[in-house]
């Protein structure tokens, strides 16, 4: 067994499932659930107990996914990001994953900190933060579709591009 690439691939899958699983939880479940909970006055429990924990695992699993992916690419890292030859498919996946990681750490998390009251923000700032965090999260959901396609395609080029 080649221990480093084997372990990196395993970790990349596990952390990736957690990251994208939580992303889909936010977008397919929590957005509508919070609207319904706000309507009947039960949202406080979700925002206090569920959202911070979900965001904790979400942002760190995103980083671990990216780092394990980079380790998995190893010496082919720059061939992939340079979209060179047979590495172009995995390279597109890698670029999409990188944009998504950026969105998590520089758009979603800083704005969620304002929404959750972890950092001080006026009501107006919170309203803006909600919209930015929502759109960044929806953008990541949209990007996850081609990202997952190209992650699969990159590992099985003959099937997808043969």
């Amino acid at each position: 067994m080649e221990y480093v690439p084997a372990f990196a691939r395993w970790l990349h899958f596990m952390a990736g499932v957690m990251w994208i699983g939580l992303l889909y939880y936010f977008n397919f479940v929590q957005v509508d659930a919070l609207k319904a909970a706000q309507a009947d006055g039960t949202a406080a429990g979700i925002t206090k107990h569920v959202v911070p924990r979900a965001l904790l695992y979400f942002r760190w699993s995103a980083l671990v996914t990216w780092l394990a992916g980079a380790a998995l690419l190893g010496g082919n890292f720059f061939l992939a990001f340079g979209l060179q030859g047979v590495y172009s498919a995995i390279g597109i996946g890698a670029w999409l994953g990188t944009i998504m990681l950026f969105n998590v750490w520089f758009l979603i998390w800083p704005n969620q900190k304002k929404i959750l009251g972890i950092v001080q923000a006026t009501d107006e700032e919170k309203t803006k933060a909600r919209r930015v965090a929502f759109l960044a999260s929806r953008t990541n959901t949209m990007l996850s579709i081609p990202m997952l396609f190209f992650m699969g395609a990159g590992a099985h080029v003959a099937i997808f591009f043969g």
Partner: protein
């Protein structure tokens, strides 16, 4: 015009369209 990302179906359809566009770029211009 409504932002397609405001709805889940708009988000999914946008993702599928982007997949098709990127697939064709990789297939035709980058050599898979």
């Amino acid at each position: 015009m409504k932002n397609p990302l405001d709805s889940l179906w708009g988000t999914i359809i946008s993702g599928l369209i982007l997949t098709l566009i990127l697939y064709n770029i990789v297939n035709h211009f980058l050599g898979g």
